[in-house]
Every structure is written in structure tokens, then in C-alpha cells.
Symmetry: C3
Subunit: 323 residues, 3 copies
């Protein structure tokens, strides 16, 4: 019944998945992010909050972009950052993953930011780390990408005050998207009025009903009356596989063009987790248009990651104070 992301007192220790977290915690993250967000307009965009802490970017899957956002967030909190690309590291010397982790723990690191192409990797690591370590999931397989979901929620809250009044549509490859999965959990926990997913049958998960989302295979019906449109990145692997006819055909059916956008509410915002495939999941005119908040998402990504890092490491000092 207890959530293994939380300490006994209900504070955030790890951040692995949105699933199972309560609304006040998601709100707390957004409220903290609000503070860090104002920081970026100051001359010195830095606070000494995590000075002396060591944060390790443990990337088993290459992603310069995501690593950079975590590295910037950590440095703006004054933490020391170690970047480890594990594929080229000790494990190639035959050391097991757990031995690598225990070594890093023994070096008095405080936080592991984990990116892995296998679902459940961050959770596995969190189960095995020493009590003084926090684990942040920076994307694991098709499972979860909770900081991405939280920066999306933060972006929505900035534009649309009240979650229960909203209709949100997520378009694309829901089936393989850790981003979509985390977004659906977050939107649902925050009490969003109606969550829709739009995509071809081959790219929608079979458990849509249990997730509490409404399924559309057609953009015209799916976009009607929505306030927030989230487009997803189409992975190149999928385009080459049997699940999809071609990028061009995908764009014709599910690409977000100005025409299709006009079906939604006139003040609807358009989001995308990046990097964008222009002309595949979204037209350039929409991505760069007045309703797009895609670059705001990037900006908020730093503030939200700073919030998660500082909350999780705050929980840690609570643990230490008790012991």
C-alpha cells in the first residue's frame, strides 16, 4: 500500500513514476518550480541549496538533450555533477550494474538521474541503492518519464488555471510513449475533466479504458472542444516498422496542421516534448505559431527538475536527521 517513492513521512525520496503519487505532491512540485522559474530572470541564476551535493547523471541510453537539462538544473542548485555514459564505462569491464551502483554510493554521491532503454530500470535501481541515495527517472523504456510529465503539467497550469475544467488531447504513438503514460497519470491525478488519446489502432495501448481516457482514431472528432493539445514524437524505428505506413501518410492523418488545430478551442495551447519531427507529427507553422508553447516547456523543464531535485534531497536530509 505504501509507495516506494516516498519516505515513511510521505515525503518524496525517489521520483520514478507519477503513478501512485497524490495530488498535493504534484502541486508541491509545481509550486517549487514556480519559485525557480523566477530565478532565471535574475542576474545570478543560481542558488546555493545543493552545494556540496553530488548528482550523477547515469545514462545507459544516450540523450544529450535530457542530460543537459538535468545538468543545468543541478548546476543552478550549486550541486557537483558527474556525467557517466554507462555503455562505455565499467560495465564494459565486466562489472555488474549493482557493483557500479554500490561503488558510486560508496563515493558519497547523493542522487542518481537514470536514463535507460528498459522499462523498470530506474525502479530496479531505486530498490537496490543505499538509504542516502535518491533516484530520479529520466526516462525508462516505454514506462515513464515523470519529470517530462511534470513540466507539461506546469506549462498547462501557467496557461489554464483550473485542471478540472480542461479537455486535453494527446496525439500519436501512445503505446510506446513513456511520456504519454506519465502525462495520463499526471492529468488524471490533477483531476483533468477529460483526457483523450488520438492515434491509429496500432499505436494505442489496449488498457486505454482502465487508464480512464477516451479513445479517438480521428483528429476531427478528437480535437473538438479541447483546450490543450499534446503532440508526441514519432520514433523513427516505428516509421520503419510494420506499425505505420509512412511518415507522409502519418502526417496526413495525425499531423497537427493549422486546419486541424482550428477544430480545437481557439485558445487551445499546443505542446510537444521535443525533439520535433517537423512535417511528421506537427507542421512547422503550428510548432512555431502563436498557440505553440513548445519552447516554454523547455524553459519550465529546468525549473521543474530543480524542484524535484531539491524536494527529493530535502527528504534525504530529513532521513539523515532521524538516523
Amino acid at each position: 500500500m505504501t509507495n516506494n517513492q516516498l519516505t515513511e513521512n510521505g515525503h518524496l525520496r525517489h521520483f520514478l513514476t507519477i503513478e501512485g503519487l497524490k495530488r498535493p505532491l504534484l502541486t508541491e512540485i509545481m509550486d517549487h518550480a514556480e519559485q525557480y522559474s523566477s530565478l532565471s530572470h535574475r542576474q545570478v541564476k543560481k542558488v546555493p541549496l545543493l552545494r556540496g551535493k553530488t548528482i550523477v547523471n547515469l545514462f545507459f541510453e544516450n540523450s544529450t538533450r535530457t542530460r543537459t537539462t538535468f545538468e543545468l538544473a543541478a548546476k543552478r542548485l550549486s550541486a557537483d555533477v558527474i556525467n557517466l555514459n554507462i555503455s562505455t564505462s565499467a560495465t564494459s569491464k565486466g562489472e555488474s550494474l549493482l557493483d557500479t551502483l554500490h561503488n558510486l554510493e560508496s563515493m558519497h554521491c547523493d542522487m542518481f538521474v537514470v536514463r535507460h532503454n528498459q522499462s523498470g530500470a530506474a525502479e530496479f535501481i531505486a530498490q537496490h541503492v543505499a538509504p542516502h541515495i535518491s533516484v530520479i527517472n529520466a526516462g525508462d523504456g516505454c514506462h515513464a518519464h515523470p519529470t517530462q510529465a511534470m513540466l507539461d503539467m506546469f506549462t498547462i497550469r501557467r496557461h489554464k488555471q483550473h485542471f478540472p475544467d480542461l479537455r486535453v488531447a494527446i496525439i500519436g504513438d501512445i503505446l510506446h510513449s513513456r511520456v504519454a503514460r506519465s502525462q495520463i497519470h499526471a492529468l488524471s491525478t490533477l483531476g483533468v475533466g477529460e483526457i483523450r488519446v488520438i492515434g491509429p489502432k496500432t499505436l494505442l495501448p489496449s488498457d486505454c479504458k482502465t487508464l480512464g481516457v477516451h479513445v479517438y482514431h480521428d483528429m476531427e472528432a478528437g480535437l473538438k472542444d479541447v483546450d490543450v493539445i499534446i503532440t508526441l514524437r514519432l520514433q523513427h524505428e516505428r516509421m520503419e516498422g510494420a506499425l505505420l505506413p509512412s511518415a507522409r501518410e502519418y502526417f496526413q492523418c495525425y499531423g497537427l496542421t493549422d486546419d486541424k488545430l482550428s477544430i480545437a478551442n481557439p485558445d487551445a495551447i499546443v505542446m510537444h516534448p521535443g525533439p520535433i519531427n517537423r512535417g511528421v507529427e506537427i507542421a512547422s507553422s503550428v510548432a512555431d505559431g502563436p498557440q505553440s508553447v513548445i519552447l516554454e516547456q523547455v524553459t519550465h523543464g529546468i525549473a521543474v527538475r530543480m524542484a524535484v531535485m531539491s524536494i527529493a534531497l530535502g527528504a534525504q536530509s530529513e532521513i539523515e536527521a532521524q538516523s
Copy 2:
């Protein structure tokens, strides 16, 4: 008529090329560098000037050496540094260059240090970045390498007080050298008495006359009475191509040996931008000899880059104060 490197008030915002900059600005850079130069003799070689600023090394062409000098300069100004090797990054995921740039802007980075193998790349980036970003050209194709030229000017000023009294000879592959091009603009702007280029016809540009330089194909004539000798690095690609007979023959004609050096003024200084091909463009005895200031150039490179970074980001705070 206005220079796109300058703010409306004439302050340096970007540093892309020496061409078009006025003498007082070049002098300002050297005067600032003079201050940073004295810093390196202190116990703590660091000033808090750029604390909280984020400087991104955006290297599309690998150059550990140049990246290290910019990284050190930024760290000694207390900035946070992010190193991005773009060939292995987001653009390989199909993201366009401009999308990568706009993402970094949205993360509230302050400066891009750009290295690219295509002429004009830094200028292209400067044209497209947000108003709060400064761009420093760390070498673009055959076009320009302005911080290298300024560290050369600083080194000359340290040894030879008065630019108008000087005769300066640049030896080698002027045609393909961004370093030579930037040096010629800088020497000319600072009013150097006589600028000479020495090299085989195949390696000299056709616009030498319009650049205001004197052309020599013969070392004996070219080195007579000069005060400063700048040898250039011979790119290996050239040696293998049809433009040159062989490294050995090149050395016989244009390699700077003790004999040839003795043609110049007895107090002439010898420079090279590094890395040196010993026995190709310069003899080891000259490179390591008493007239060589090659390692001083490296030292001054840090101070000059600190100067350019702090001036450009100072100009930025001026922009912010206005808006």
C-alpha cells in the same frame, strides 16, 4: 552600415569576425586581457564575474584544445559550462540546428561558443539567436578565428609597443587559414606599418591586394627587416592534396629554420597558433628557441577569451537593463 556584432550603443554583443570592428574595441579587449593576465599569478585564479551565467561550448567540429581554452576561461570567470559535441547529439535524432539552438536559449543559456567547419556558421547562428544570447566564433571553416587573432595581437603588444612601427610577416597557407584572415584584419585595424604574406602561389588568396598586404613567394625577401613572424599550421589535408608537393619540400622552401630566422630583425618574435607540425612549418630549434613566444600565446589565449566573454556578457546586461 551597422555591424551586427555590436549593440545599438556600439558595445560588443557577438564576436564573430575582426572585420568591421574599430581600433578602440580591439584595444579595449587587450586592456581587459591585461587585467586577467595578472590574475593567473594569484593563489586563487578565479573571479566571480560570470557566476550564474551558463556558457555552452557548441562544437560541430572536434577540437579538444580550443574547447579547453574556452572552458578554462569560462570557469575562471565562475560561469557554468556545458560542453556539447553536436555531431553526436540531438541533430542526429533529426532535430534541426535551429531547433537545437532555440532549445538551448529556452534553457536560459547566456553564450554560445561555436566551432564549425563551415564558413559563416557562427554568423548564421548569431542571426537567429534570441536577444539574450551572445555568440563567440571559435573558428568557422576558412573564414575567421577572431579570439586567436586577438591573442596574437595581445602577444605582439606585450613585446612590441607600437603597432604602426612594425613589419609583420605571415608565412604559409594563407588561402585556407581562418587564423591568417583574422590576423590580417586585426593587424590592419591596429595600424601595423607593413603586413606581408609569404607562401607558394597555390596557397595565397587572390584578394591579397585588396586586403592591403604585400605578397612574397620567397622567404629571403619576405623576412627581411620584419619584427614579427607568424608561422601557420599546415593542414594535413593540404599536404596530401595537389596544392603542395610534399611536407619535406614545403619545409625546404617555407619552413622557418634558424638560418631563415636570421634574415629578420634580431629581436623579431616567432609565433604559431598551434598545434605545431615540427619540421614542416617550423624547425624545433626555432619553435623552442629564444625568439619563440608560442607558449606565451597559449597563456594569453585564456586571458583574451576571458576578456571577450566578460565584455560580451557585460553588453548583455546593458541590453537587459534597457528592456
Copy 3:
């Protein structure tokens, strides 16, 4: 007669090998490490001792693990760190090693941490650097790995007060191990009562007698009455070569199992420099068992490297004060 690792006043300038260093210096390193060790339990695990100093990790041989420990040690002393993987750097542009070194010196770096697959590389570099540079050997070929040996000594001292009373056994490929070589020198300098090496004839050096160690080819005899057991990593190259039958057979003869461990004194501690080949040189039950101090070694590695860095750079300021 003088040791080239020491200044004229007998202070540590370089740290290249344990050989030739006196007992008080090794004790000084351990005493300093004791202070840094307590630091890691504080909220802010950082001291401003080396603020403004630049430490370069000069790795000619890839070792993420070792690099990380030096990087963390340097950052916790507030130094700036530059990581250079030399195989992919300037030397590939045809620049000589010495030119690379002289360039880094000219950038006012303070310390080179050198890892190289050739014995003597760190010493060669130390002989050629400018007077203001300290060189730390982070492992050179089969020669030495002095910081590893010192963290081992520190770990032993934490568990076993008095070195002269101890019997220490080192098991495995002594012949090719820089770790073993440095350990033997350190144990011997600290006056350890009896040093034993255990391994097959093909993996023991011929100069065992002159090193003052007792040779055993049999675990039963070799482990009797020992207080400290050091297992060494078996390099995969060896396993594939003609020197050894197979990893499995090695484990049967020389792998440390619970059974074999029971031959030693009941309070014997078990050590390994990592990374471990589980089931080759040590059984998992022993590596993770109550007598294992393997992860403590990792922890102490940071403190010992902080000690060596601060002592060596302290010696440097002494030099500067004199000149």
C-alpha cells in the same frame, strides 16, 4: 639519492610511486585522509581549499571509474576539473605529447592526474613539466598505482591498528599488477610484519625475494594466520592468454571462497581494488560478506585522493612563496 617526487625541503610535489617514500610521509597522507573522511558525513561535503586551482585528468587509457574518483576528490576540494581523453585529442592532430603538456602548463593548470598503459609514463611527464605543475600517477602500465595502495593502507589502518603486528596476503596476478607492486612497497615501508604473495608461478614476479615478500603457490598454506587478504583483479587479457588455464580453474585454485577464508584469522579483512570479477578471483558470498571491506576502500579512495591532492598542491605554494 634525492627522490624526484619531493621538493628540496622533502615535501611531496609529485605522487608517482610509493617506492622511495618514507614512512612519515605515508602516515601524513593517511592522517590528512582521516580529516577528509569525516567531511563526507557533513551536509556540505566540500572545502574551499583548492578554489581557483585547475586539475587536469589526463587519461591516455580509458577508466571512467578511476577518473570519477579523482574528479570527485578535486571537486570536493573546490578545484576546477578538466577531463581530457588524450587518445581522441590533440595528439591525433599530430601534436607531440610534450607539446600537449607544455600547452596545458601555459594555460596555468596546476596538476596533471595521469593514467597511461605504459609503465613510466607518469614519471616521464613529471620529468618534463614546468615547476608549477604537480603530477599524480593514476596507474601506469604494470608499474605503479600509488593512490590505490594508499587507500588500501588507510583501510587497513582503520581496521587493524598496528602495522608491524600484521600478516598480509596478496592473491593473484602479482606479476602484471601495478596495484600489487605499490601495495608491497607501502606495506613494507609501513613495517608490516609479514607480506605474502599467493599465486601460480606464471603470475608471480621473479624479484619476490628482493621485494621482501614470502611466496606461496597454495592458498591453504598462504592464508594461514593472516589478518588482511588482498585479492587482485584478474585481467581478461590474461585469462585468454597462455599464462592461465581458464577462469574456472583459476577460481578453483585461487578464488577466495568462504572455505578458504576460514583458514585465515577469524577477524581477517578482505579487500579488492575493483572492479570485481565475481566467481573468478572472489566468490560473491565473500565479496558481499561480513569480512569484506571492499566498498569501504572505494569510500576511502576519495578521502585519500583529496589528501594527496591537497598535500601536493600545498607543496606547490611553498615553491611559489620561495621564488
